[in-house]
Structures are given as C-alpha cells and as structure tokens.
C-alpha cells in the first residue's frame, strides 16, 4: 500500500519540502584544531573536515536517504495525525574515522584512530 499512501501525501504537501537546494544533504565543512582551541594538544592533522548534514527532510522519504521505517511512520503521523510530532531530522548516516596524533599532559605522545568523526552521508530519521 505504500505507493498509494505516498501519492496521497505527495500532492498537498509537496511544497512543504521546499526547493530542491534545501533538501537534506551533506555539506562539506572544514575546521582547524586551532579554531577549536585544541592545537596545543593535537599535533596532526592541522585541519579537520567533520562535514555536516543540513536541509529539510522530504515528506516522502526516498530510498537513497536510507531512512528507517520509523522515520516513514513519523512522517505519516506528522502529516495525518498530529503535527506536534515533528518530521524526521536530517542527520549523518555514515561516518569515517580520523587518525589523530596528540600530546598528553604527561608528555607522552599518542596516535589514535577515533571512530565516527567525519560525516560521509546523511539520512532522515
């Protein structure tokens, strides 16, 4: 039945998704550890590219967004039942790790791979 539900929703609510450029998507973003105030601690790398997800989630969550079933239902609840229940949010889906070289307070030097430090793709959930 999903197809018919989707077509029912798409008509009246399509405009609420906003223009294409405002869709939930990955935005490249770079910051230096100096800007974060950690450059006395972190030796390498100098720059960090965490990226971020921003934009409106569409009323009909297409396959490429990798949304879970819950997000589809929450969209339906928002549309059909109670608008106090928010639409799903645009958040990171996949992450990549980053390797950091840092100095510890006691003067030891640490190489460490931190998981989930770079957003690679986005989802609505």
């Amino acid at each position: 039945q999903a197809g018919s539900i989707a077509s029912d929703i798409r008509g009246p609510s399509w405009s609420r998704d906003g223009p294409e450029r405002n869709r939930c998507s990955l935005h490249p973003f770079q910051v230096s550890f100096h800007q974060l105030g950690w450059d006395h601690w972190i030796i390498a790398p100098h720059l960090y590219t965490p990226n971020y997800c921003k934009g409106a989630c569409p009323q009909v969550l297409h396959y490429g967004l990798n949304s879970p079933n819950h997000a589809i239902i929450q969209n339906l609840v928002n549309e059909l039942v109670d608008q106090n229940v928010p639409q799903p949010s645009c958040v990171p889906y996949k992450y990549a790790p980053i390797s950091i070289l840092l100095i510890e307070a006691n003067g030891n030097i640490l190489y460490k791979e931190y998981e989930d430090m770079i957003a690679q793709s986005c989802t609505c959930r």
Binding site: G37, W38, H40, W41, I43, A44, P45, L47, Y48, T49, A96, P97, I98, S99, I100, L101, I103, E104, A105, N106, G107, N108, I109, L110, Y111, K112, E113, Y114, E115, I118
Partner: protein, 240 residues
C-alpha cells in the same frame, strides 16, 4: 569565553571516550612544546604519516595492527658510571592503570643501539632491570625487522610484549616498567669518563600498541573497569 563554555558543556557528558580524554588528558596551554622536539616526536610523526594521510584519514594499507599507539617516555633517567667502559641508565616507564576497553596488543622499546658522544662510540642495549648486576636479556625479545622500519639505522625497536604482559600488565596500581639502558665503549676507542648523573635525553622510549574494544563492550553491555570501580551514584544504582 566561548572555549570555556564549550569545555563546560563537554563536562556535562563525560562518558564518551573522546570527551573523557579531552577533559583528562589534554595538557594545559602553558605546557606546550618544551618536550615536543626530539626523536620521540619525529618517530611518531613518521608513524602518523605512514598510517594516515594529510587530512587524517587512516590509510587502508596501514600496518600498525592497532588503533592506538602510545609513546611513553621514561619518568626518571638515573645514570651512573659502572666501572671501566660501561655506562648505565635506569629508565622508569610509568604505565597507566589499564582501561578494560583497551587491549594491549604489543609493547616495544625503542633505543639507540649506538651512541656517539663527541669522539666516543658506545654500543648499547636494553635489558630488564634487576637489583644485582648481572647480564639479563629479554628471554623472548626480538628485534623487529620484518616490516620496513620507521627508524634511522641508529635506532632499534625490540619487542617486549611478553615481559610487559607477564610482569606488569595485570598489576592494577603503581605499575612502573623499569629497564636498564646499558652502553659499552667500543673496543679501541679512548675510555670516556662518565660522571654520576650524566643523562642522555631520549635515549630510549616505550611504545604500547592497543586495540580499542569500546564498541564490543558497549554491545555486550560492559562498562569500562575504571568506570565500574569509581564510587559514582550511577555505580550505586547499578549495584542495587
């Protein structure tokens, strides 16, 4: 002020490993750089460049075999003449209390196997520290030579994993790895008078390789041991 407030915000959620490390292990701004120079840093920078690209992305072909490598510098370097052409330094390496989510996979000691002091040449090795003078070698030690070395030829990396695991790793407090850095003047060279207290900075350092098992612990419902051992209200609730 912005930075202070962001640190305060981080302090409210101290359970994430990254945040705990930020709060506990980041040095103060004033502490910066006196120890940044020297061989240990150069070694770790080369290790970093081999393991990650300029942006910090871990290289797919990295050969570390661990997700974390800690370079530990000796706490004290007590040097003493030992009669004749000998020069000996006692090196104490402080080992932190073990966090259960980090598994030690390898321990090595890196040292100069040749020291050149003015016109004097010494050949050196590292051995476990014992009370009385005797020749001791690591029973299972071996020089690492299978992988391309990060080190200039004057440095040697020796595997002491078994020694660290057997003698120290399960001790929960006051864990200090004590080693002797022993140098002997090479034959034929003029005898150099070593004075008591002579110390050669960064003649040796320790490398500890760990794998981070946080994810499997979270999955299995475990908490890090240091967290479990604390007397926090959360622990009390869990105990009930």
């Amino acid at each position: 002020r912005v930075r202070e407030s962001s640190i305060a915000l981080l302090a409210e959620t101290p359970t994430l490993p990254l945040i705990r490390e930020l709060l506990e292990e980041a040095p103060g701004k004033q502490q910066r750089k006196p120890w940044l120079l020297g061989h240990p840093l150069r070694y770790m920078l080369e290790l970093y460049q081999r393991s990650a690209d300029l942006h910090g992305h871990p290289r797919e072909n990295r050969t570390l075999g661990a997700t974390m490598v800690r370079l530990v510098r000796p706490l004290t370097r007590i040097a003493r003449p030992f009669g004749g052409p000998w020069f000996i330094q006692t090196l104490d390496f402080p080992l932190r209390t073990n966090r259960v989510a980090y598994q030690l996979v390898r321990a090595t000691v890196v040292y100069h196997h040749q020291l050149h002091l003015a016109h004097f040449h010494l050949s050196c090795h590292v051995e476990p520290w014992v009370e009385k003078r005797s020749i001791n070698h690591f029973p299972s030690s071996k020089r690492i030579s299978s992988e391309p070395s990060l080190l200039p030829k004057v440095w040697t990396e020796m595997d002491i994993t078994q020694h660290v695991q057997q003698s120290l790793w399960n001790h929960r407090r006051h864990r200090v790895l004590r080693l002797r850095f022993v140098c002997q003047q090479q034959k034929g060279s003029e005898v150099l008078e070593f004075r008591r207290g002579t110390s050669y900075f960064d003649s040796a350092f320790l490398l500890l390789y760990f794998n981070d098992t946080h994810k499997s612990f979270q999955k299995d419902g475990f908490l890090p041991r240091d967290f479990m051992e604390s007397e926090s209200p959360i622990l009390s609730r869990m105990a009930r």
